[in-house]
């Protein structure tokens, strides 16, 4: 091919290379959720309860002085039961298991739910020690979710237990 034609060809091909890069560097655009949808993120990391027994004075006396802890607690933690309801209907229910080989770590959950924007009655119930019946933590509230809003459902004992953010 004659040189000028080759130069033109090269310019066209390098232009196509640049156009390819430029296009796929930002396009096509991507929408993870539709415009009228909000997200509820349920995420918790919590140590389950455990049943401790009070040692009797006789038992304490048999122990070396430096090991006389008044309570004897098992290493393992309880499973945690969690229920999430939206407008009174069950949305998610799970039993979280403690992590670790000895089941002594935190129990965790992370779930993302897409819901239409609007007002809902949101309820979360949690039992962190399954020896006891029912739920020892409950949080209920009417929430208004705007499009694209992210509502986090979390647990923090310092914030009074279950909370919405």
């Amino acid at each position: 091919m004659a040189k000028p034609a080759a130069i033109v060809g090269q310019i066209i091909l390098y232009g196509a290379f640049a156009a390819f890069l430029g296009y796929f560097a930002t396009s096509p655009t991507y929408k993870q959720i539709p415009d009228d949808v909000a997200l509820i993120k349920l995420s918790m990391s919590h140590l389950g309860g455990r049943e401790c027994r009070k040692r009797s004075p006789e038992e304490l006396a048999k122990l070396p002085p430096n090991m006389r802890a008044p309570l004897e607690c098992p290493r393992g933690r309880s499973d945690i039961k969690l229920v999430l309801e939206l407008d009174g209907k069950p949305m998610f229910e799970t039993v979280m298991h403690p992590t670790g080989l000895s089941k002594d770590g935190v129990s965790t959950v992370y779930k993302r739910f897409e819901v239409k924007a609007g007002t809902y009655q949101l309820s979360v119930k949690m039992n962190d020690n399954l020896i006891n019946p029912g739920f020892n933590f409950v949080k209920e509230a009417q929430v208004t979710l705007k499009p694209a809003q992210v509502l986090v459902v979390d647990f923090n004992p310092d914030k009074g237990g279950l909370f919405f953010q």
Binding site: M1, Y14, F17, L21, A25, T29, A148
Partner: protein, 527 residues
């Protein structure tokens, strides 16, 4: 034929045609498709250089990362903004050439045997590129960064490695702190450093590495990036806000395609795809393949320790050691793990000359599957056959390459065709020998410029025939009776046309030089 072989064969044909087409515009030396690895390295140096500047101006606080990078694009668009765009587009181009390089080496079957090491060391680099690239997007901390950070951590959390979900780090606006960006910058610098180390290992077993493409290619690709930087500069999205899900995202599909893929499938499917593809790439060299070529063998009595084979070996398979039998001399040693069996060393050996009078030609370094002695016998037989043609017939000898256009089909009453393991195994003295033995013209053909299956075979051949490299063609051989033709394996027709043209030229041009004086060995093997 297996499905894999059929796929690979078709991919090879497609690539060969694309490369050959681009040769017409760019020429072999400037054809980007023939220098993908070198292009990748060049893009990496652009990334390092632009990244250094971006690092110096980056404020690693939560608000600072967004404003400091945004400042570059808005107020300092003429320097920082352009460098940022170059960083973005060079990284995308790096992914593009990396994937093409991978596909090309696979299509040409360059992943097993002596190439096993280069292939296996290349696979983990893909992971490093993606870790570095995806992490780089987070540093800007805009909506896209927010989306990618959450999507990546949600994907990671599917693996049973973490006690707590890592996605909890991006739950709410107060979940993110300044330390995150210090860690991200550390990763974004550390992983590319590992990548550079990995690249060093990747090319460690080849000599004369193509570290950079030609100046034209470098300038042209840089100009492409600069044009993009001006026309479509890399800009941040709105600042990250973890209280809101990002709306429409301008996704970089070269790196972030993995997030939509996870959304339309599942984390399990994506990990199965990623780990499956990685295992497949690692396993590919261990699938059944043709038996490896026998390796070069050194003959101590005929090796004079000149080191030419050491200098010419494309895979650093030949080293020099103290000669056990000749005091003060060296001897070539062949590493069986590195030897490709290409025969380029035999072509470089000064003892490979057919003019030696020994009945059995034994050279310093030779190929058991096609010894130089067999080449000489073959040539002498062919010359004897050509000698029986009526006078006035233009007799040609064609030396070709098993990996390039097939020359065997060109053999005719007036044409002798000898196919070699690689054209680089042709000692130039064979050209003179053929002309002095009665041939009117010599055609030497092999893979296209930049497309040699053994990397340097055609380059060394061209330099040897042009008196630029030892062992060189003697000057008594007229260059107008010699034709070098670059033809890949799919270009047999083009080769035949080039030979016809050469024959016509020899027959019609009056100014053709005389053949060098006739020569015949004392103990010929004609017939």
């Amino acid at each position: 034929m297996s499905l894999h072989a059929a796929l690979r064969g078709n991919a090879q044909i497609l690539l060969e045609r694309s490369e050959n087409s681009l040769d017409a515009l760019f020429g072999g030396a400037d054809n980007p498709l023939r220098h993908l690895g070198a292009l990748g390295l060049y893009f990496l140096w652009i990334l390092v250089a632009t990244g250094l500047y971006l690092y110096t101006v980056l404020d690693t606080s939560v608000e600072g990362v967004y404003t400091s990078i945004g400042y570059l694009s808005r107020e300092q668009w003429y320097l920082g903004g352009i460098l940022r765009s170059l960083h973005r587009y060079a990284s995308d181009a790096f992914v593009l050439v990396m994937m093409l390089h991978l596909a090309r080496e696979w299509a040409y079957g360059r992943y097993h045997g002596f190439r096993l090491y280069s292939w296996v060391t290349g696979v983990p680099l893909i992971w490093l590129v993606y870790i570095s690239g995806i992490g780089g997007y987070w540093i800007v901390w805009d909506r896209l960064a927010q989306f990618s950070a959450i999507a990546t951590t949600e994907l990671l959390d599917w693996l049973p490695f973490f006690t707590e979900p890592t996605a909890r780090n991006f739950l709410a606006p107060d979940s993110v702190n300044d330390r995150l960006f210090t860690v991200l910058v550390f990763i974004h610098i550390g992983v590319p450093l590992m990548l550079i180390l990995g690249l060093w290992a990747h090319v460690n077993r080849i000599s004369r590495v193509d570290y950079l493409p030609s100046r034209r290619v470098m300038l042209a690709t840089l100009a492409s990036f600069l044009a993009l930087a001006l026309i479509k500069p890399a800009l941040s999205d709105a600042p990250a806000n973890l209280a809101l899900a990002p709306a429409e995202l301008r996704l970089d599909w070269f790196f972030l395609f993995i997030h939509p893929l996870t959304d339309v499938t599942s984390p399990a499917a994506v990990w199965a795809l990623l780990f499956g593809a990685t295992i497949l790439l690692f396993a590919l060299p261990f699938l059944p393949h043709l038996k490896a070529q026998p390796i070069a063998v050194v003959d101590a009595a005929n090796c004079n320790g000149c080191s030419r084979c050491h200098a010419d070996c494309p895979y650093e398979a030949v080293t020099m050691a103290v000669h056990p039998g000749k005091r003060g001399h060296k001897i070539a040693i062949v590493d069986p793990d590195l030897c490709a069996g290409c025969g380029i060393c035999a072509g470089s050996c000064p003892s490979s000359t057919p003019f030696r009078s020994q009945e059995k030609l034994v050279t310093g370094i030779d190929m058991p599957q096609q010894p130089v002695d067999v080449m000489r016998r073959q040539l002498e037989t062919q010359l004897a056959r050509l000698g029986t043609q009526p006078s006035g017939t233009t007799k040609l000898v064609v030396f070709g390459c098993d990996k390039g256009a097939d020359v065997r089909g060109l053999a005719a009453a007036d044409t002798a065709a000898i196919s070699l393991l690689c054209t680089g195994m042709l000692p130039p003295s064979f050209v003179e020998y053929a002309l002095r033995g009665g041939a009117d013209g010599i055609v030497v053909t092999g893979c296209r410029d930049g497309g040699c299956d053994f990397r340097l075979g055609m380059q060394w051949t061209q330099e040897r025939l042009a008196h630029q490299r030892e062992p060189h063609l003697r000057s008594l051989v007229p260059q107008d009776r010699l034709r070098l033709v670059y033809a890949s394996r799919s270009e047999s027709r083009q080769l035949a046309a080039a030979i016809d043209e050469f024959r016509t030229q020899l027959e019609t041009q009056t100014a053709i030089s005389n053949r060098p004086p006739a020569y015949s060995r004392r103990t010929p093997h004609h017939g």
